[in-house]
């Protein structure tokens, strides 16, 4: 079977989903969700204490997925670890058979449930990507030789809705130059607006995987519009959800429709279901994937 890295290289259309480790050690529901997605997706992202809320580690859960024959995308943020810990964890991932690492800055601890925590951010995402590539070449950030070097498939994130877009594009290019192989994006709802972004980045030879976040309610859409950077749910879509008899089915319909519209613009989709992973197979059916 092809790995995510190979699929990206051979320009296959990629489908990824996401699970969030629990606060605690009861991983039953996460593993059930993953099992449900197993035959339908190319890989599953495992979030790293998302929203700066302390949870079971993404490396451990990535390994649990691996043991079930599911390819994990290990999310690694710069929030909690200095360069020693980041490099060490990346090596740990490699010996555990985890190749895909999605590098993110990470939310500030003030946004999470331990606001008193010391923010680390010793490296930023660009520098971390660079460090991972150095390790592949057999040396660490201190230029010391590694005994056995790892091999990674490195992903990063980009926010097509960033305003202004230029500084985001500058950083995007830095990430590509540092060695990012694929990009997962912030949630996309306005395909027309996304198409403009896609055009701007077309000349970069990279793999863009568009983010799909299920909208559970009109309140959630309005909340995201107000509070989440780079997300814009058009009013028309909010009205559509508002008037729907069955909101889950509406969420499925909207996601599938968005995926269909995005297909020609991107090399894949990353579905963030926020707990509604059981709906993902239906979405993929409806989207013809």
């Amino acid at each position: 079977m092809m790995t995510l890295k190979e699929k990206i290289k051979s320009r296959k259309f990629i489908v990824t989903a996401e699970i969030g480790p629990p606060k605690g050690i009861d991983v039953k529901s996460q593993l059930e969700e993953a099992e449900l997605l197993k035959s339908r997706v190319d890989a599953i992202n495992v979030t790293d204490s998302q929203s700066a809320v302390m949870r079971l580690g993404s490396l451990a859960v990535s390994r649990l997925l691996k043991e079930k024959g599911i390819e994990p995308v290990y999310q690694l943020t710069c929030r909690d670890r200095n360069r020693i810990a980041l490099q060490s964890d990346a090596l740990s991932a490699a010996v555990l058979g985890i190749e895909n690492i999605l590098v993110l800055t990470g939310d500030h601890p003030l946004r999470g449930d331990h606001p008193q925590a010391k923010p680390v951010f010793d490296l930023d995402s660009v520098q971390l990507i660079g460090a991972l590539r150095m390790m592949e070449a057999g040396r660490d950030l201190a230029d010391k030789e590694l005994k056995g070097s790892p091999r990674f498939c490195i992903g990063a994130v980009v926010n097509p809705g960033a305003d202004p877009i230029e500084p985001e594009l500058i950083k995007f290019e830095k990430k590509i130059n540092a060695g990012a192989e694929f990009f997962q994006t912030q949630g996309v709802y306005d395909v027309e607006a996304f198409a403009k972004f896609a055009e701007k980045v077309q000349h970069f030879d990279t793999c863009i995987i568009a983010g799909i976040i299920l909208i559970k309610s009109p309140e959630m859409a309005r909340f995201m519009n107000k509070n989440v950077a780079g997300i814009f749910v058009p009013d028309k879509l909010i009205e559509e959800i508002e008037s729907a008899a069955d909101r889950q089915q509406k969420a499925v319909e909207i996601a599938a429709r968005t995926i269909k519209e995005l297909k020609g613009l991107v090399q894949g989709v990353h579905i963030m279901s926020l707990g509604w992973n059981k709906l993902v197979p239906q979405i993929l059916d409806k989207a013809g994937l």
Binding site: H108, P119, D124, Q127, E166, E168, A229
Partner: protein, 219 residues
């Protein structure tokens, strides 16, 4: 300038719980500008402590509490009042409080919390614009420091948390990287933002830092 903020009076009183005789020391420099250790504040503190039943042995503004030689000289000049006091209440920054403790050998109670190295925007409004990192890159970042202005201290551009030009940490904070971007763009220096900045060298800011300036020592 070192920016300070006065502690709550109930917290100061807790520190002075077992103290009857207090010597108050303000500062002619930063704490005067911050209104945490100038003449008015020292006088008010004296009145407050006396109204709370303390004996204020002296209330003075020193020039400056962070200068060890000056403090030692003052300690000799004010020997009697100092020795008649049980604690010194320092209305200065933490540097002043430490230096006076060292120079007098007495118990010191800080009246202020020391916050940051600040720019004075206008009377009473101070901004942190330098993080004292020991490795200045302002020539690359258009005069705006990412270590001071970005809560994450990112080196290579904004994170995904920018909303309406503001930081994810607070709508009161402008995104430091947008400030840098706008300045570089306005001055035709956007190329500088395209250059990858390497990981910062934190060995340059290991505490406690000391420096002996040769030109002064040889004088």
């Amino acid at each position: 300038m070192i920016i300070t903020k006065q502690k709550k009076t109930e917290d100061i009183m807790k520190c002075l719980e077992k103290v009857e005789r207090v010597f108050i020391i303000g500062c002619t420099q930063c704490a005067t500008v911050c209104k945490t250790g100038g003449e008015d504040e020292v006088r008010k503190m004296k009145e407050f402590l006396e109204a709370s039943g303390k004996k204020v042995t002296a209330a003075e503004i020193w020039d400056t509490p962070c200068n060890l030689l000056e403090v030692k000289k003052r300690a000799r000049d004010r020997k009697d009042d100092l020795s008649g006091s049980q604690a010194l209440l320092l209305m200065s920054c933490g540097d002043g409080a430490h230096t006076v403790s060292l120079g007098t050998g007495m118990n010191v109670v800080p009246a202020n919390d020391t916050l940051f190295l600040g720019q004075s925007e206008r009377a009473g409004k101070f901004n942190e614009v330098c993080a004292l990192c020991g490795d200045c890159t302002l020539f690359i970042t258009g005069g705006y420091c990412p270590n001071a202005l970005c809560p994450k201290g990112l080196q290579n551009g904004p994170c995904g948390g920018v909303k309406d030009g503001k930081c994810e940490v607070s709508p009161d904070i402008d995104c430091g990287w947008l400030l840098i971007y706008n300045r570089l763009k306005d001055t035709g220096n956007l190329d500088k933002m395209k250059k990858v900045l390497p990981p910062k060298d934190y060995s340059k800011s290991v505490r406690p830092r000391k420096i002996a300036v040769d030109a002064v020592r040889k004088r």
